[in-house]
Amino acid sequence: MSRLWVDVSDLFGHHGAFSRPSGIQRVIFELGQALAATDPDEARIRFVRASGSAYLPVAWRTIAQLFLSLTDEAPPHQPPLTTALQLQFEALRALLAIPQTLRPPTGEHGTPAAMERGDTLLILGAGWSDVGQVARLAALRQRHAIRIALLVHDIIPLLRPEWSDPIYAARFRQWFDGMLPLCDRLLANSAFTAADVARYRRTQGLPDCDIPLIRLGDGFSQAGPGAEISHGINRPYALVVSTIELRKNHALLVDAWQALLARHGPDAVPALVFAGREGALSHDLMQRLHATKNLGGHVILRPSASDAEIAALYRGCSFTVFPSLYEGWGLPVAESLAFGKPCLASNATSVPEVGGDLASYFDPLDLGATIACIEAILGDPAGLAAWEAEIRQDFRRTPWSHTAEGLLAGVA
């Protein structure tokens, strides 16, 4: 019986570098959990992480514990001195942890995974951060005649190099160009990403191939009703869930909110909540927010919200906004609808595939149109309530178990 080996190295790498998961780590966890549920005895599906030139098996419970540590409760709001001291302490702890990474990892079996002819190794994550991956896969493929499947989340560093550090972009290109001839199966999270990949293959002189779509699940399993907490915001607000970076286009909303506040006054405009850490190319925006004291308190930052807090923020918001300039999918749009909340979303790239007819769209390159779209909502509370009711009635959730089934069919 052939096995499916799922590479979760990315979760371990991310855990070493960040305190909260990003979209890709969330997909790995949710999908991994759904895959594990289909095979509790780990007879057909096993999880592995890279270690040198080999893959080592990892028990699902180890992976689950690791992910949960990325999504636990955030510390309460505190004075700046306490924050600075805590961050400094955390930095020292991170420094002292570096030598430990040179020792053998714990929580995994010590012998390499026994891959056999006909088995499939599925790469779900950000493989470009694993520098030795291409060479390792090429050797494994030659030695054991395994099949390799890759879920492509996006190829933005190839198409928009201006948004990526050049070293990162070069590493991504090297990785992706190396992976393309190795992969027996390419999967994509959206038709838009599949088209991007197909176009890129043509530029590389590679033949067209079938790229099955894997519809990602909605919502996240760690924040069920039992985990409900207070979000601590005592006024209406619009919610943006994503890392704060230039590609995600938070600056457009800051521009829009400034115009709305000037036109309608502070009492008529909801707060704007950014739930996400600071990421690439966010320096200038953060400086603008600092200069305006977060638009006089109208922008509320939640940089390290736990899953439970994000769920509470979704439940409590009037609506969500997702102004991204470029996406491979657009998980926050699906999450918004899964929480029954109207979403004003960018009409760029893959985003309309996520929200379908239940989201409302605007051109993220047009400030005037964005403002008009938000004003239409603010001026029509009954319409907003009707929209919310429509979502609750018509939105059909995609459970992660369906995604797992689609994935298994896709790699078959």
């Binding site: 790498g13 070493g16 430990q100 694993d130 928009r160 190099p161 050049p166 400034q258 300039l325």
Partner: protein, 382 residues
């Protein structure tokens, strides 16, 4: 005889405001006595060379991309070790930021000059402030007339587009100096409207000048002239150009030359240009050009995009004076209006001009700075 004290407090080196300070100061000397000064914290005389140094172009930023092989050693480390190092760097950076947020930033203007030559303007003298910066109210009590030239009112009308220290200095100016202001000079109707909202004396709108000789050049490019900054809408221009590169055959899109002083909130724009190797050659950066270089670049361009905010419309006036067609956010006769924040429409407008080049226009007859200085003194006459 009335003396004009040209107050350069808060003027950024190499900025359009610095250029105006030098050009206008030079022209005023033909009409009246002019002294250069800044307030740190009293009124201190500065030598004329300080004004020249202020207007000189600082070195351009480094857009060089280091070779990827630079991290060869790092790439040989195990992935968990590299991740742990990344985590340490990220947390230490966050810690440093938290420490820094507890300390007020310093005001980034001219360093104190070596001489401590304090000055005492006489009653009836004019204190011409180029920027709304700091507290100058006490000079009004001595009979000095305070005039805001508003060479760059960004820190006042859009503090979020200014350096934090400049925004803070503008807030102090507004509370301490503004009540004593006798005259406000604006350089566009839009800037006048924005300044009027503060309850200042009704701003007098003057037109600035463009009077530099132009040399010819054979290259074919479009120029985005003006400050490279958030206020200069450079972020929007990059998105518009990316849209053009996506939608048009690449060989039909001329290079875009970004020419102007590097202004506040430009770190992420510069990083994008560096990351993409200036959009793989589709853009070129002429950062902090000298006045002559700026003028040459304008004259040789296919057409000019001037996405200016506040200020005195230097790029638009210079572009028109060079006989170039201008897409401009600064309202000037002969320029075609654009709204830079409407990026899709901006890209459409640029595309139309690329596909159907605008007819060359007669160069606008430039006004000399001497004319501007004469007009200024006329409206400030007691």
């Amino acid at each position: 005889m009335t003396c004009c004290w040209l107050d350069i407090t808060g003027v950024r080196p190499g900025s359009d405001a610095a250029y105006m300070a030098l050009a206008l100061g030079d022209a005023l000397q033909g009409h009246t006595a002019v002294r250069v000064c800044q307030r740190i914290p009293g009124l201190r005389k500065e030598p004329w060379t300080a004004l020249e140094a202020l207007a000189a172009s600082p070195p351009p930023p480094d857009l060089h991309v280091p070779p990827v092989g630079r991290l060869g050693l790092a790439q040989r480390l195990p992935a968990p070790t590299r991740a742990a190092i990344r985590r340490f760097v990220a947390t230490q950076r966050a810690a440093l930021k938290a420490w820094a947020s507890m300390i007020h930033p310093a005001n980034p203007t001219l360093p104190p000059s070596e001489s401590e030559d304090t000055a005492a303007p006489a009653s009836g003298d004019l204190l011409l402030m180029l920027m709304p910066s700091g507290d100058a109210g006490r000079f009004a009590a001595a009979g000095v007339r305070l005039v805001l030239l508003s060479a760059d009112p960004t820190a006042l009308i859009r503090p979020d587009w200014a350096e934090p220290a400049a925004a803070e200095a503008a807030a102090i100016w507004l509370s301490k100096t503004a009540p004593h202001i006798s005259t406000v000079i604006a350089w566009s109707a839009e800037a006048a409207d924005a300044l009027r909202a503060y309850g200042l004396p009704a701003p007098i709108v003057l037109a600035a000048a463009a009077s530099i000789a132009h040399d010819a050049c054979d290259e074919d490019y479009v120029i985005a002239a003006g400050e490279i900054s958030e206020a200069g809408h450079t972020r929007h221009l990059l998105l518009a150009w990316r849209k053009l590169l996506d939608e048009m055959p690449p060989d039909t899109v001329p290079p875009l030359v970004l020419a102007g002083p590097i202004g506040p909130l430009s770190d992420d724009v510069i990083a994008q240009l560096r990351n993409s190797r200036q959009f793989d050659g589709a853009m070129r950066v002429a950062a902090n050009p000298t006045a002559a270089e700026f003028s040459r670049l304008l004259a040789a361009s296919r057409f000019v995009i001037a996405a200016e905010a506040g200020g005195w419309g230097r790029a638009t006036w210079d572009g028109l004076a060079a006989g170039r067609a201008c897409l401009s956010s600064f309202a000037a006769p002969g320029a075609t209006a654009i709204t830079p924040s409407k990026i899709s429409a901006l890209a459409d407008g640029i595309r139309r001009w690329i596909e159907t080049p605008p007819s060359p226009s007669e160069p606008m007859a430039p006004r000399g700075w001497s004319d501007v200085a004469a007009d200024l003194l006329k409206v400030l006459a007691p």
